[in-house]
Each structure stands twice: as C-alpha cells, then as structure tokens.
C-alpha cells in the first residue's frame, strides 16, 4: 500500500518540478533571471500582501477548477475520457444568468433554485453523450467535442440576441439580481461561499468513491468492465449515473461563476475552464485531494503570471500557460520515466527495511 501511494505522489510532484525547471530554462534564454520570475510568481500567486491578498484571489479562481476537475475525475474513475465539461459548464452558466436576471423571488429560495436548475440542465446535457456512448457505442470524445461546440454557439447566440443587455455595448447579458450574488469572504477576491461548496463536494466525492458500495461499483467499472459485469454490476447504469453526476457538477461550476463572480454571461465566457478540469484531474491523479491541491496550484501560477510577470517584470503572462503546459507534458510522458522512479522508490524502501532490520 505504502509503495503504491508513494509512487502516486511522486509522479505529479516530479512532473511539476521538471516542468518548473524546463520553463526556468526557457526564461533564462530570454535574458530574464529565472529566480526573480519564480519569486514574482510565488509572491503574486500565493502571497498575502497587497490590498486584496493574491492568495485569496487564487483561492477564488481555483473554485471552478476544483469543480470541473472533479467532474473530469468522475469520468476517469468510471473509465470514460469525457471532455464534455466545457459545454456543461456553459449550460450551467446560461441557466444561472437567465434565471438570475428574470426571477423575482427572495434570495434564500431563488439561489438554491438557480443552482439546482443549472445542475439539472447540465446533467441533461451530459446525459446525451453518456447515452450515445453506452447505448450506441459512440466515441465519447467526438460526441463531447460536438456538444461543447453546440453549447459555445448557443451562448454566442443568446448573448448576441435574446439575452443581450444593451445594443451598443459588448455582447453580454444583463447583470443578475444583486440579491442573488454569492457572498465573498474578501471583497474583490472572488473567494467566497462557492469555494466552500466546492471543497465540501470534493470531500463528499472522496467518501462516496472510496468508502461506499456505489463508489466501489464506479471504480470496478472503470478499471475492468468485464469484471464488473461478471459480478453482477450494471455497468451501463453506473456509467450513465456517474457521467451525469459529473455533468451536474460542471454545470454548478458555471452557475456559481455567474452568481459569485461575473454576475452575467458574455461572449467568450468560458475561456476553456472545462478543459482545464481535465488537466486538474490528470495532474491530481484522479483523487479528490489531488484535485484540490492542483486546482490551487494552477490557479496560483496563472494568477502570478498575470499579475506579477506581465505587470512588474513585463514577461508575457502566457508564460504561466507555458509552465502549466510543460507540467502536463511531463505528466503525459511520465510512462517513460515511471519505471525509473519506481526503481528509485523500491531501492529506498529496501534500504529503509535494512536499517530497521
């Protein structure tokens, strides 16, 4: 058990270290000191000084990542490489923006209602590729890409025409009812109640997946569907429920971004948050704790690159994206160096044992 855990931890950590080293080399090539870049990244990504502490802003931006990461993770767990979170996220946001601007109910009723309806619509949207996959064997990646495109264009249409707030301005919807805005712990940080909801969902996911019979079914279907079916697990049902649950969570992420952060939808609303969920789930080794840590890490790097590098060092903020991309690359090629890492770990273990003995 210990050995398995050690390798699972060593993999993402070594990928991050290698990614950082590689990007520092890149930076050195441009003539800027890598150390000052690293320092700025840490200060502006995770620091506690300033009017609104960067760490709080990072926690705020990490919130939707945690949720889309969790959604992607559920797909991985049941053995389906679903990339449909992007579209589900957009669907959730659309419902939240529409209801948020048109409902006229007291907020204790309206806010939960908006959340539940956003999740329900996203779940239905996620049900389509899930059913296609299970009943007709349609490749989930292809159907997900289609579903994502449909959602993106529906959003573009809605904000350009029916939901457009005013004719002259940028294509965006009306601001939602102020009473429905989600509470932020530090004003202007985006860090608020939605973060708590995301963390609670991650904890719940951990217990459901690893400690209940339902979670057992999900894991067994994901690891070996023949085994699961042989033992009497209805694998079709398990895949469909898991994927739609993930879809609902991705929808909730979109909903809470509207209620807690943007307060409206506009063209280009998503900026690939759904896809980021895949990176988060992968780097987080498909584990809720991993998803939690990696979400904050990625959000911090992005934040630090945007605030610090661009403004104080005039290094393009895309460097943050390069760093993240390199880390993902090192995870993707990890099969190459995994055996070496395993050998290193087992050698250490043997040495320890010898010491003990």
């Amino acid at each position: 058990m210990k050995k398995i855990k050690a390798i699972n931890l060593a993999m993402p950590v070594s990928a991050i270290i290698l990614g950082v080293i590689a990007s520092m080399l890149l930076i050195a090539l441009t003539g800027v000191s890598p150390l000052s870049v690293l320092e700025t990244l840490l200060k502006d990504g995770f620091g506690l000084s300033g009017k609104v502490a960067p760490l709080f802003m990072t926690l705020g931006t990490s919130t939707p990542l945690m949720l889309t990461g969790l959604a992607a993770m559920l797909g991985f767990k049941v053995g389906v490489f679903s990339i449909a979170q992007e579209g589900q996220y957009v669907m959730g946001a659309i419902i939240a923006a529409w209801l948020g601007a048109s409902l006229n109910l007291p907020s204790p009723i309206a806010v939960p209602m908006i959340m539940i309806l956003s999740m329900a619509v996203a779940a239905l949207y996620g049900l389509i590729p899930a059913l296609l996959k299970v009943k007709l064997g349609v490749n989930e990646i292809i159907s997900s890409i289609m579903m994502n495109n449909i959602a993106a264009y529906v959003l573009e249409y809605l904000v350009a025409f029916p939901m457009r707030a005013d004719a002259g301005q940028k294509a965006q919807s009306a601001v939602i009812n102020r009473d429905y805005w989600l509470y932020q712990f530090v004003y202007g940080s985006r860090w608020g109640i939605s973060f708590v909801i995301a963390v609670v969902l991650l904890i719940v996911a951990y217990f459901v997946i690893f400690k209940t019979g339902k979670g057992y079914k999900v894991r067994m279907v994901g690891q070996n569907i023949n085994f699961a079916s042989y033992g009497g697990i209805r694998s079709d049902k398990v895949i469909i429920t898991t994927l739609t649950t993930g879809a609902a969570i991705a929808g909730l992420a979109g909903c809470m971004e509207v209620l807690g952060n943007y307060h409206r939808i506009m063209t280009g609303f998503s900026s690939g948050l759904g896809f980021d969920g895949l990176s988060v789930a992968m780097l987080g080794m498909s584990h809720p704790a991993g998803v939690f840590i990696v979400s904050i890490l990625l959000a911090g790097i992005r934040q630090g690159a945007q605030l610090g590098l661009q403004i104080s060092l005039s290094v393009p903020r895309e460097l943050g994206a390069v760093l993240i991309a390199l880390v993902i690359l090192f995870v993707a090629v990890s099969d190459v160096y995994r055996p070496a890492l395993e050998r290193l770990l087992s050698r250490k273990e043997r040495k320890n044992r010898r010491k003990e003995g």
């Binding site: 690891q223 085994f227 042989y230 033992g231 009497g232 697990i233 209805r234 050998r343």
Partner: protein, 504 residues
C-alpha cells in the same frame, strides 16, 4: 554429441525482481526429444527465449555443437539452425499456407504462386506432414496452424526445434498425432526441445526430461527410468497427490435444471440445440467436449446475460433465463470463469477490492451508508489464510500474484457466497501441479458441503477425476450423458467426436 550445452545461464528481471534463470547448466543431445518441465514461472520459457535470441542472458555460455555462440536475435538463432514455435502462433489470417511458410525466405524479387505451392508440397511430403498449401490460414484448425509453424521452421533448415507448450492449444484428439510428428522429426535427425507441464505426455513422447523449479535446474532424467510421481516431486519440491481423493457423491434435490434451451448467433447460426440436463445438490456434473462445441454459449446462458431463444433455465426452481447476473447471483449462483485475468479478477485493484465483488450492496458489510472496512478487511485476511494465498497482502495488487494464487482469490470469493450452484470453467488452465491439486480439492470440498457443481473443462483428466456425472457437448448439443462406471476415457472421447453409438 551434444547439440546444445547451457553453461551457468543466469537472468534477472529487475522490474519484477525475479531471478528467472539461476546458474542453469545442462545439455541436450543431438537427435533426441528433450522435454523441459516445471511449474509456471520456473524459468522454462525464459531459457528458451534466451536460446532463440529473444532475451539476453546476464551471464553464462551457450554452446551449439560444442562451439560457443552469441545469440543476439532470432536471425542469429536461425543461422545456427535453431527454430522456435511459440505457444501463441504468429500467423497472418488472410495468407495461404504456402505464403505463410515461405514468408521471409523469398530470394527473388518476384514470386510465383505455382512454385511456392510446389515447394511447400515437397516439404510437407518430405517430413510426412500433410497439409493443403493453398488453404487459407483463417480456415484451419489449431492443430494445422501448429503444423504450419513447424513447416515454417523446417523450410529454414533448422536442426534444433524448440516448441513452447505445444500441446496447450491442442484438443485431446490432436495431441496423439502431434506427438507422432515429433517422433517422426526425430527419426529424420532433428533435435526437439519441448516445454510442457503435462507430465503424462512428456513421459510418452520424450527421450529425456529436464525439470526446472524457480529458475533453477533440478535434474535431467531418462524418460524410461522415471515416472510421473518422481517428476511431480521434482517440479514441486514436495510430495504431490496426483489423483484426487473423492468420496462417492450423495446427490440431493435438483438445483440447476436446463430444459431444451436453444441459442442462435446474430447471424442466425444455431449455437445451442435443444440442450437439457440437470445438476443436483452434492454432485459434480462435468461438461466435456472439444472447445468450441457450444460450451461457451451454454455457460453464458446460465451465468451471464445471453438470451436464449427458447427453453427454460431454473436455479432452485426459479426461472432465471431472462434475469440479470445480479439476480442470478441472488438466486444462489456463483461462477468461476475461465479467464481469471480479464474477467474473474480486477488485477489492477487490491485483493480487498477483488474480494468484495458481489457483496458491495450487502447490508452486513455496511456501517450506515459506508462500507464496513474493518469487517471487510478481516474477511479478506481470513480468505488469505484459509485459501493459502501467497504473494500479496490485503492491500496489494492482484496483478502481483501468480496464476495459482490468482485463482485462489477467485475461489475464495465465489465460495464465500455459500452458493447453491457453483459453475467452474477450466479451473486449472495454466496452473502448476501444486495449484491444480489445491483447486481440485477445494471444488470437491464444496461439493461435499452440498453445493451443486457444474464443471466445464476440455481437459479429459480433469473431467474424469472430478465428475460424478458427465455430459459431452458436440456441435451445440449434448451428445450423451454418462454416469458411474460409464465414465471413462473411451466413452467420453467417442462422444466428443460425435459418435453417439459409442455408449450403449
């Protein structure tokens, strides 16, 4: 004169930490049939792969015709006159026999079909291995495919032929002619090395036998001077009971009844044709037959979710032919499938997870809404000690276990159900002597507890030593049913080839 001499061959696999070959030294005489025996993982295949240039040894020397050679790859080996037939054939389905045999030997840029066919015909006549050179690989039975593989080596003028578990893929009827082929090749001066763990055929066919255990050379015996018990002891390192001790069965009421079931394939072909039989409490009903005669569909109809076109299947009186696997299990069925690596187990998961399948919704393993981990853990620990599962802890991955220990995990889990009906399919395929003994004993114990056991096997020995009654499948129907003194090799063999008149 020695054709091959192994001197202190060692090979270590760091990734799995296995010493596959440990200072092995012995020699093979020119023109003999030399069998290499050992349990799974004894290092037989590794040694042969080294000889054929597929693996590099860490240290040691190989001498061919008393001269040291370096074998870096298969072409090196072929150049020294060594050929190998692998357990899993490497043939192209859409090729003809002639094309398959000649592939890679073409010297001219253009080939003529006629001369190819002619060359193969000549070869097959020379070695008296009749085959149709223009037949498609796709259409040939396994025994013929093996013949193609052997001819493929012979046309390359090999003098030493290595066969890796050649009989594992053959049906019982094909084994006899195959052993004749080996003797025939020996008469023509070839040296034959073959790997097997079926002791009887090794004794029948070989001149000398080398036994390996855990990567070590144990000894070489003249086949005429040894016997099955001595070989088994050498292989396992302790005394083994080869025949299973079994009390006469005391059958009770009928548990499984199969009545006139018919199954057709999606293309409309009849796979099962009016099959009827029943299994009673406390007896082992063996389904014998050459594989591919409908056993698979029969098991799927009983234990899986294959729709029967007509007919009724009952477990303890309950109609189950249209029920889900989950409901069938609830009705008292347990099932040990043929493919333990892909179906019977989730090898990527821990032993604990593997022991839980089928119980994940049981109330007694729950604490509130959660699984009762402590209880499950204790239960898995108990399985490990009761079934003597070696090689992993409760949290260890099942993939680290040997074949025999994997099968014990499956048995432990399925027997825990306290089933009324137990279905076991090829329970000892690929297992070593020690594990076979264990599995067979466990199945008989289960019978004695009052379970109805349905055993499906293509191994005649297994059927003969375990079954209280036998049904023989032939081309989708039950060719006959035997019980008591009628159960013997001749009767079963006759029914297996469809000769109904064999039993009166």
């Amino acid at each position: 004169m020695n054709a091959i001499t192994f001197e202190n061959i060692s090979k270590y696999y760091p990734s799995t930490e296995v010493q596959a070959s440990d200072n092995v030294s012995f020699s093979i005489r020119k023109g003999e049939i030399h069998a290499i025996c050992g349990e799974n993982g004894a290092g037989k295949s590794t040694l042969m792969n080294i000889l054929f240039g597929l693996e590099r040894m860490d240290s040691g020397r190989i001498l061919i015709n008393e001269e040291e050679v370096t074998l870096r790859n298969a072409s090196d080996a072929l150049a020294h006159g060594i050929g190998m037939v692998h357990q899993h054939f490497k043939l192209v389905p859409s090729f003809t026999v002639a094309e398959s045999i000649l592939l890679g030997t073409e010297e001219k840029p253009f080939i003529s079909k006629k001369s190819e066919v002619e060359a193969v015909r000549e070869l097959s006549e020379k070695y008296s291995l009749p085959i149709d050179p223009s037949a498609l690989i796709d259409t040939l039975p396994v025994g013929m495919l093996q013949r193609v593989e052997i001819l493929k080596m012979l046309i390359r003028n090999v003098e030493i032929l290595i066969l890796d578990e050649p009989t594992a893929v053959l049906t019982p009827n094909e084994v006899g002619p195959f052993l004749d082929t080996l003797r025939n090749l020996k008469e023509r001066g070839k040296t034959i090395i073959f790997i097997s763990h079926k002791l009887q055929e090794v004794l029948d066919a070989s001149d000398r036998i080398t036994v390996m255990r855990k990567g070590k050379f144990i000894g070489t015996k003249e086949s005429k001077e040894t016997n099955i018990y001595e070989l088994a002891d050498m292989m396992v390192g302790r005394k083994v009971l080869l025949s299973v001790d079994k009390k006469p069965s005391v059958p009770g009421e009928t548990i499984l009844s199969v009545e006139n079931i018919n199954v057709t394939s999606s293309s409309g072909l009849k796979i099962l044709d009016n099959v009827s039989f029943s299994v009673r409490r406390g007896e082992i009903y063996g389904i014998a037959g050459v594989s591919g005669n409908g056993q698979e569909a029969l098991i799927k109809a009983i234990a899986g979710e294959v729709q029967v076109r007509s007919g009724v299947i009952r477990i303890s009186g309950k109609e189950v032919q249209n029920l889900s696997v989950e409901q069938k299990r609830k009705a008292g069925m347990a099932y040990v499938p043929e493919d333990r690596v892909h179906v019977g187990l989730n090898v990527e998961a821990s032993l604990l997870d593997n022991s839980l399948l089928g119980y994940e919704d049981e109330k007694c393993f729950k604490k509130g809404m959660f699984l009762d981990e402590k209880k499950l853990r204790e239960r898995a620990e108990k399985m490990i000690s009761d079934y003597q599962i070696y090689g992993s802890s409760v949290d260890g991955l099942v993939s680290k276990l040997s074949g025999g220990n994997m099968q014990k995990v499956v048995l432990a889990r399925e027997f825990e159900h306290v089933p009324d009906l137990l279905i076991v399919e090829q329970p000892v395929r690929g297992l070593d002597v020690g594990s076979i003994e264990f599995v067979h004993k466990a199945i008989i114990e289960e019978r004695d507890k009052g379970t109805a056991v349905l055993l499906v096997s293509v191994e005649l020995d297994e059927i003969l030593s375990l079954s209280d009654r036998v049904g023989v499948m032939y081309s989708g129907s039950l060719a006959g049913e035997l019980s008591g003194d009628e159960i013997n090799e001749t009767n079963i063999a006759l029914l297996m080839v469809g000769k109904k008149g064999g039993v009166e």
